[in-house]
């Protein structure tokens, strides 16, 4: 029988939407306000494979194609972006590099635990002096007694407050002139692994974003991901993938705010008629709908290129740049359509508005995305 991939994507969207609307919608505003990580709902997500989206079945994952995985992130973020963030960071930048670069032993040790959600993962590149300039990492890893001793401070670590495993980028090598960046798989129960206070952020407040302190944190040799000096390679490949996830997340935020705005525009009466009958509001709605549709195509295009096994960095950057821009525009218009009520915590759109902004910043700012896209375009021989 002919299998229709669209039917699968539709069923996955329906299943995730049903879960998100039943479990997350009732608490999304409250966990945002109180900055609470909803452990109970996370517990329900574990057996449904939300933490092993693209992990092969042999490790207990769902083995989804990339469009399906993007749909999952999109649909969760449509209701609760902070949990969409937890899922996309875990799957996109913690599990993915292990799938791509880990040794068979490392995969055996960690993939099942990550796929089941027993371990929540984090990715720790950013430091006080290393943001967009990711080569300026200052955390060090010094070889000692069959392992490495890590020292340094990582900041703005998504899932930092709850992660069981973090990928830590650190400098290795004894010659100060030839330091190389490498990646270590560090379990949170390691001695010398400490978490900072949770960040008090503008949006994504239900995600426990924190600093991580490594104070003579010992990591056994076998926990080196890839080879010494692979840091840049692993980091860039991982960020390419993570950008598809953030694009999907931004898309979900835009979609959620858009639906709220359309509903409100139909209900809200001014001048004795629904404001949806006013041409200016209709123009807003038309622009929002068109931009969201275009954004969605860019996400799925990046996914298709990735699943075809081709380099997808430029496509991922385009999707991330456009989706995050659209998310900010659409959430801003959604607040506008709600008028004064949109500025109140009584309605969800102000949360969407706050959540959208950071999608233009993390996993590479919009400025960095433009740099990546321009480089890809200009490096082509014929244009």
């Amino acid at each position: 029988m002919q299998l229709n991939p669209c039917a699968k994507h539709k069923l996955i969207r329906d299943a995730v939407r049903n879960f998100a609307e039943t479990e997350l919608a009732p608490i999304a505003a409250e966990i945002d306000r109180s900055a609470t990580f909803p452990r109970e709902v996370i517990g329900k997500m574990r057996p449904l494979n939300y933490f092993g989206l693209q992990v092969p079945r042999e490790y207990g994952g769902a083995a989804l194609d990339s469009i399906s995985a993007a749909i999952v992130v999109e649909e969760i973020s449509r209701v609760c972006a902070a949990i969409g963030l937890c899922v996309t960071v875990h799957n996109g930048v913690a599990v993915y590099p292990i799938l791509q670069f880990a040794s068979p032993e490392q995969k055996k040790q960690y993939l099942s635990k990550l796929a089941s959600g027993e371990f929540i993962g984090a990715f720790s590149l950013t430091e006080a002096n290393a943001g967009s300039d990711s080569a300026s990492v200052e955390t060090t890893a010094v070889q000692r007694n069959g392992g490495y001793c890590l020292n340094g401070t990582k900041i703005f670590v998504t899932n930092g407050g709850v992660c069981d495993l973090a990928l830590i980028f650190a400098l290795t090598g004894s010659d100060p002139g030839k330091l190389q960046s490498s990646v270590f798989i560090v379990e949170s129960n390691s001695v010398g692994f400490l978490r900072g206070e949770l960040e008090d952020l503008c949006g994504m407040r239900a995600n426990p974003v924190s600093s991580l302190f490594l104070e003579d944190c010992f990591v056994p040799e076998k926990n080196l991901l890839g080879k010494i000096g692979d840091g840049m390679k692993i980091g860039l490949a991982t960020l390419d993938n993570g950008r598809i996830g953030v694009a999907a997340q931004a898309l979900g935020i835009a979609q959620g705010a858009f639906e709220a705005a359309v509903k409100y525009a139909k209900e809200r009466q001014q001048f004795k008629k629904p404001i949806a009958s006013l041409q200016t509001v209709q123009n807003y709605i038309a622009d929002m709908a068109t931009k969201i549709a275009a954004a969605r195509l860019l996400v799925y295009r990046a996914c298709s290129v990735k699943d075809a096994g081709m380099p997808f960095g430029c496509e991922a950057s385009m999707a991330k740049l456009y989706c995050s821009t659209v998310a900010s525009e659409v959430t801003s218009l959604a607040v506008q359509i709600h008028g004064g009520y949109g500025y109140s915590k009584e309605y969800d759109v102000e949360r969407y508005f706050r959540d959208a902004k950071v999608t233009e910043i993390y996993e590479g700012t919009s400025e960095i995305q433009r740099m990546v896209i321009a480089r890809a375009v200009l490096s082509k021989l014929i244009f």
């Binding site: 029988m1 299998l3 229709n4 991939p5 039917a7 699968k8 539709k10 069923l11 996955i12 329906d14 299943a15 995730v16 049903n18 879960f19 329900k44 057996p47 449904l48 494979n49 939300y50 092993g52 989206l53 079945r57 207990g60 994952g61 769902a62 083995a63 989804l64 399906s68 999952v72």
Partner: protein, 279 residues
């Protein structure tokens, strides 16, 4: 002993997204996205719960256009073992009577050794609640409709059902048929791995009218006996009711009069104490 369960499910249009032409009084079904009828999901859940207690095999059957494959894939993802799609243009427009005849033929052909057939009590798109009971008649089975609780002991099936304002418990021997209400058997969430896997499964069979030995004339002779002449939108009757008295009196009176209606709208009972024979 392996229990053989058959669950009949239906794909219906998503009510919230259903385009509706008020002038012609028709539903533009082909434009709406499909979903598994909610009561059918409860019936499948009841079967899955039986499978958790006893060795059992679940076959899901649906009749519909090729796109109805979706609800079968979903059922496989949730834990059904086999799926049968009855699809044939000749069967388009079948009424409940014709539908039950076709499903009967499919069951006789593909799973004649069944122990229990489970159907949703009614569909959200047409609400006739007829296919299950008609199928029981056609197959000459003991049956109970609107079942909210199922117990199995050997070959005996004990079911509790809600009828009007009382509950009754019935016993019958396998093979039997039940239609499941939405009172209990809250459907489980679909796992992502299950969905992914269900699209690689080869356990979906497609049957057409010829395979079921249904011919033009046999369908004409026994087929649809009813015809939908017109569908129209019920006009909302608005009116104001003023309740007076102390707050507690007003609230009590309000709940007395309207809790059932509110329960229907929000999809769950808000009655203070649900009657339960075990209590």
């Amino acid at each position: 002993m392996m229990l053989k369960l058959v669950v009949c499910i239906k794909q219906i249009p998503k009510v919230a997204e259903l385009p509706w032409d008020e002038k012609t009084g028709t539903l533009k079904r082909d434009l709406a996205a499909g979903m598994m009828n909610p009561a059918c999901k409860h019936a499948l859940e009841a079967a899955l719960q039986i499978k958790e207690q006893f060795p059992a095999e679940i076959t899901v059957i649906t009749m519909g256009p090729p796109a109805a494959e979706e609800v079968l894939r979903e059922a496989l993802a949730l834990g059904a073992d086999e799926a049968i799609l009855i699809s044939d243009r000749m069967l388009a427009g079948s009424d409940t009577f014709a539908t039950s005849l076709v499903i009967k033929e499919a069951i006789r052909k593909q799973c004649p050794e069944f122990d229990l057939i489970l159907c949703g009590a009614y569909t959200a798109d047409s609400e006739t609640a007829q296919v299950g009971p008609q199928l029981a008649e056609e197959l000459d089975l003991p049956a109970a409709a609107y079942v909210e609780k199922i117990e199995i002991e050997g070959r005996t099936l004990r079911v509790r059902r809600l009828v009007d304002n009382f509950r009754e418990t019935l016993e019958m021997e396998f093979p039997a048929l039940v239609t499941v209400s939405m009172e209990n058997h809250k459907p489980r969430y679909t796992s992502l791995a299950g969905l992914e896997k269900s699209f690689h499964a080869n356990d979906l069979m497609v049957l057409d009218a010829r395979v079921l030995n249904l011919t033009d004339s046999s369908i004409e002779a026994q087929g649809s006996r009813t015809k939908v002449r017109k569908v129209f939108l019920r006009k909302a009757q608005k009116g104001n009711i003023l309740m007076q008295g102390t707050a507690s009196m007003v609230v009590t009176e309000f709940l007395d009069q309207y809790q059932r209606k509110i329960g229907t709208v929000i999809g769950k009972s808000i009655e203070a104490e649900k009657f339960d024979e075990e209590k």
